[in-house]
Amino acid sequence: MVEPRPEISPPRRRFLNWVLGTSAGGLLASVFYPVLRYLIPPAAAEAASGAVTLPFKPDEMAANTGKIFKFGNRPGLLVRTAENELRAYSATCTHLACIVQYRPDLAHIWCACHNGHYDLNGRNISGPPPEPLEEFTVNVRGDQIVVGKRS
């Protein structure tokens, strides 16, 4: 029977375990790091940074009406007020991100989800919305409506 040599073996065993453990750890890390990074979605296309030309003409909008348009990948709301003025806002409610609409009967902006109200400056005037809607600039060039972010 071979005598065990405790004064040599444990350090050697510890070293081997350490080598095996770190290799296995390295292998697992090199498998799971790419998988994790893969699952994190790449940054989506930025919202329209500059200006957007709307797909409809100014004279298609009657007074006291509103219309949703695409501002990059977000919805926007174009309103022709009773005073015949064109105004544009972000259409995403600041409460829980529903899409707001223009209410001709109230002559202001309303969110159907939780009865939030905004005035024609985008200010939250009633209901749960915590912040005003972002207002955009509106320029009419010939028969085109160009909406842009306020700088």
Binding site: P34, V35, R37, Y38, P42
Partner: protein
């Protein structure tokens, strides 16, 4: 209570309710014979490992892939260009598919040459041949999914061949394509087959295959039995399993190198109204069939050459499946030179026609 004792108690709790300890007992009892052909036992495990890679990467690809003619190509483009490691996941999936079919063929031929299909392992053989069929179908359906020009025309040719099958050909062709031509309808069909139908069928057959392997143990080839050195064995756990792991790591290393240095290409988007580009070719594992059909004369005894070829391959497949029932010598544990030579002939035929296929069309 230490961690160890806690784990033991947890295990006892689970075992009392599931009886899963039986698996552990089986693994502990299992022995693997040692002889000069032991190395071939590792091919099945390697194929299983590559299948697991396919399942993992396949699930990951589903996170970004969109199965429609309008979006499939673009979603892969996005995956390759924008998604972190998207190119790696897709390349791993493409390469592991090829490697898996390769190891599957090696596994098949080693089993054939070592006569491991001998009774009572006929059902293991049948399930294996069906698994091979499933793997080839996986390859064929997956090839179309990126919706690029090369895949489009390869699938067009591949499904066209189905139409040559007597009587039911036209029906099968329409069933497979979801119409008369390759369209978005074909893509969604192939997608459903590739990600739902085949995985479910593979899981069932794989379960049967592994259970049968477990039940019968490893087959010892007749030659090794005769030379009387079949008594030596090693325990399955941990000796064989650790060696198996070395095989898995080797496969992983080869796979990672291939994916990193030769990433999968995408080419240009499929266009049904563009002329077929040069170099339309099937995947390499279909090349021998493709080349055979090309070499056959237009008419053989008044029948279209293509039809003769397809019937021929059908019969060859049936022959392969039924070998365990036909090889009488192996059934009675005698050497079976005839079937050894048939196997060698099959290998030579497949390799030769594959090589010819690539030599005749250098562009392919």
């Amino acid at each position: 209570m230490g961690l160890r004792a806690g784990l033991d108690r947890f295990w006892t709790w689970i075992d009392a309710r599931t009886g899963i300890g039986v698996v552990g007992q089986l693994v502990k009892k299992k022995d693997v014979p040692i002889h000069r052909h032991t190395i071939w036992y590792y091919l099945g495990g390697m194929t299983l490992f590559l299948l697991l890679v396919q399942i993992g990467t396949g699930i990951l690809l589903l996170f970004y892939y969109r199965p429609s003619a309008d979006e499939a190509y673009e979603s892969i483009q996005f995956l390759m260009a924008e998604v972190r490691f998207g190119w790696l996941i897709r390349s791993l999936h493409a390469w592991a598919a090829n490697l898996m079919i390769f190891t599957l063929f090696l596994h098949l031929f080693s089993v054939l040459l070592l006569k491991a299909f001998r009774p009572p392992r006929e059902l293991t053989w049948f399930s294996g041949v069906f698994l091979l069929t499933l793997a080839l179908t996986f390859g064929f359906t997956g090839y179309l999914l990126p919706w690029n020009q090369l895949a489009y025309f390869a699938t067009s040719v591949g499904t066209q061949i189905t139409g040559a099958i007597p009587v039911v050909g036209q029906f099968l062709l329409r069933l497979l394509r979801g119409g008369d031509d390759i369209t978005g309808a074909t893509l969604t069909r192939f997608y459903a087959i590739h990600v739902a139908l085949l995985p479910a069928a593979t899981a069932l057959l794989m379960g049967l295959h592994l259970w049968l392997v477990q039940r019968h143990g490893m087959s010892v080839p007749p030659g090794a039995v005769q030379s009387g050195n079949s008594k030596r064995t090693m325990p399955f756990f941990p000796n064989f399993l650790l060696r198996d792991l070395v095989g898995w790591l080797t496969a992983l290393a080869i796979l990672a190198a291939l994916a990193a240095y030769l990433p999968a290409e995408l080419g240009s988007k499929a266009d049904p109204f563009a002329p077929a580009p040069a170099g339309i070719k099937p995947e390499w594992y279909f090349m021998f069939m493709f080349q055979t059909l090309k070499l056959l004369p237009a008419h053989i005894m008044g029948i279209e050459g293509e039809i003769v070829g397809i019937i021929g391959f059908g019969l060859a497949g049936l022959f392969l499946l039924l070998i365990p029932l036909m090889d009488r010598s192996s059934q009675s544990e005698k050497r079976s030179r005839l079937f050894t030579w048939i196997t060698v002939a099959i290998i030579v035929y497949m390799v030769a026609l594959t090589v010819i296929g690539y030599l005749v069309n250098p562009a392919a």
